[in-house]
Amino acid sequence: MTNTLSFGRAFRLTLLSLGALIFLAPYIFMISTAGKAQSEIFTSSLSLIPTQFFYLENFAKAFGRVSMGQLLWNGVVVCGLIFIFQVVIAIPCAYAMAKLKFGAARLLMALVMLGLLVPIHATSLPLYVAFDSAALLNSYTALVAPFSISVFAIFLFLQFFRAMPDDLIHAARLDGMSELGIVMRVIVPNAWPAITAFAIFSVVAHWNDLYWPLIVVSNQAYATPPLGLLFFRAAEAGDDYGALMAATLIITLPLVAAFLLAQKRFVEGITMTGLKG
């Protein structure tokens, strides 16, 4: 009994470790390359550990040639604004659709589903033209506005709010709360698992997004981190892969650090443990 169990356990662990290794391999290789000298990168032999540690030089180059701080700051501003707008708009919307009875509820639901089906790539051209004629290209507005209403967020919160007991909202109404008060005082404090889960999706997606910034931003001052990398590669680094990998490492670091710090909450959010008691 114990034997088979420990065998199964070992098997599972091996399989998981192998999977983790495959997924981590590019990242590990990136870390390795960021520490190599130009000459070592282009040798035919492949070693994981750099023969000479060039980290300092590569990081210095990465920081020196583009304003890394500006890139990261843009990333934080854009992702932060997008996330805040999405939550502020989606939560009252999802609450109304989940818990209030009104005539157009079914129609709205159909529109949300429709919105889920249309990707940003389909609407990017008209949006670009619109931002262009509004003279809003190269601005935070152009980066943030198209994503401020997230049907995905509405859908996610809708499912979560539906599971909240009606009695809780009835009790709040009898206690004298307005509908907005219910959202602020009852729904939001109990929706943290859903909000965290959505935060992961939203921040990761928009931090890593290259497509939309590439369309509306040509000025480096408004570049988000992935776009900044592109500028860096094209204009400055050329084929200096060591410095490029160092820059990549820098812009992926905030997400990795955030995940490691809040790992427990993130996993909780994804599994959506829901409301207890």
Binding site: D167, L174, D175
Partner: protein, 387 residues
């Protein structure tokens, strides 16, 4: 003037008529239990009174105020929910304080940070905390005030929910099966507590339950509802002893009342198996009726005594009483007899016996289920119908 009057309230969802014109009045400080099987509309009626659902037509007046068109928050009504509906993210004391904070503080004063800078806010908060502590002490939950609902047992949550509802002295108190999530022991104990609380607060109360024993034991008056209609509203003793409708008689009382379907003979008498019974008043010959009698008004005698011959099928010993399940020989109907244990000595399954009803306890219901005041009496028992 009555403290609460509900006039002709109707509600339907599509073709489904949930409430078919309910009217009832409650006196000041009265405790009324709304009882009925699930789906009878009692909870819907309670929600309409609370303002959580709108009625299709009808009027609700409480304390001289017309509530019909007011939203829930303006009705000054408190409610205890079956699930308690405590705010999971707040501690017990914060839960109890919510209705007070919503009423006594302005929306500016309730804001975090900014609110605490406004004048007068501190004094009000202090007063709220005093009321919360007083309320908690009177419900013996003052040691739980710092716990969140997830850290409390069902009974403790139920008390916190009661405290939250009572703390602001509402004009009307509504309870939606507040005891049904408690275990049996606690439930009986909590019944007494709620009645006690109600006496002290003196607020008119509507109490919804599907448990007839709960309704009879707690309420000043019991309203029995069936499929959207109010069948009878009366004191518990009247509901039990003098039901106005066969469904009321069947719903109330444990074990269930014995019923025998029968038809009035051409001469106006009623044949019950081998026995013919004479009604006080005349019944229309040929009409279908149901004769009913409660199990405790039947007794069991030896074979040969005048009465209804039957066989014992099963006995249930319940300590203070014995429930005897029998089958009448003549018509095969089941009869349940409740006896004191001393009277049940010597009874075994399969034994042929005679069932003797107390004649004045027989009740007659018409084909539509309404009570016919022509109750049969056993004292006018005629001879055996056959031989």
């Amino acid at each position: 003037m009555s403290a609460l009057s509900i006039t002709n309230v109707t509600k339907s969802f599509g073709d489904n008529h949930i409430l078919k014109g309910i009217s009832l009045e409650a006196e000041a400080g009265e405790f009324i239990a709304l009882v009925g099987p699930s789906g009878c509309g009692k909870s819907t009626l309670l929600r309409i009174v609370a303002g959580l659902e709108g009625a299709d037509s009808g009027e609700i007046v409480a304390g001289g105020r017309d509530l019909t068109r007011l939203v829930a928050a303006e009705r000054n009504v408190a409610m205890v929910f079956q699930s308690y509906a405590l705010y999971p993210h707040l501690t017990a004391s914060q839960n109890i304080a919510v209705p007070l904070a919503m009423r006594n503080l302005t929306s500016m004063q309730r804001l975090p940070m900014i609110g605490s800078l406004l004048p007068g806010q501190k004094a009000i908060r202090k007063d709220i905390m005093r009321q919360v502590t007083d309320m908690a002490r009177s419900l013996k939950i003052d040691h739980l005030l710092d716990r969140k609902p997830g850290q409390m047992s069902g009974g403790q949550r139920q008390r916190v929910a009661l405290a939250r509802a009572m703390v602001r002295q509402p004009g009307l108190f509504l309870m939606d099966e507040p005891l049904s999530n408690l275990d049996a022991n606690l439930r009986v104990h909590a019944r007494g507590e709620i009645v006690d609380l109600h006496r002290r607060a003196g607020v008119p109360t509507l109490y919804v339950t599907h448990d007839q024993a709960e309704a009879l034991s707690m309420a000043d008056r019991v309203a029995v509802m069936m499929s959207g209609s109010l069948l009878q509203l009366a004191a518990p003793e009247v509901i039990y002893d003098d039901p106005a409708h066969i469904e009321v008689a069947k719903f109330v009382g444990q074990p269930r009342i014995n019923t025998i379907a029968s038809r009035v003979d051409a001469d106006g008498a009623v044949t019950l198996g081998t026995w013919r019974l004479q009604p006080h008043d005349t019944l229309a010959p040929g009409s279908d009726i149901t004769v009913a009698i409660r199990s405790e008004f039947l007794s069991i005698a030896d074979m040969g005594t005048p009465g209804l011959p039957a066989h014992i099928e099963r006995l249930e010993f319940l300590g203070s009483e014995v429930i005897v399940y029998t089958k009448l020989d003549a018509i095969g109907e089941s009869m349940v007899v409740k006896l004191a244990p001393s009277d049940a000595r010597g009874l075994v399954a399969g034994k042929p016996v005679t069932i003797v009803p107390q004649g004045e306890r027989l009740m007659v219901f018409g084909a539509d289920g309404a009570r016919l005041r022509a109750d049969l009496t056993f004292t006018t028992l005629l001879e055996r119908a056959h031989g």
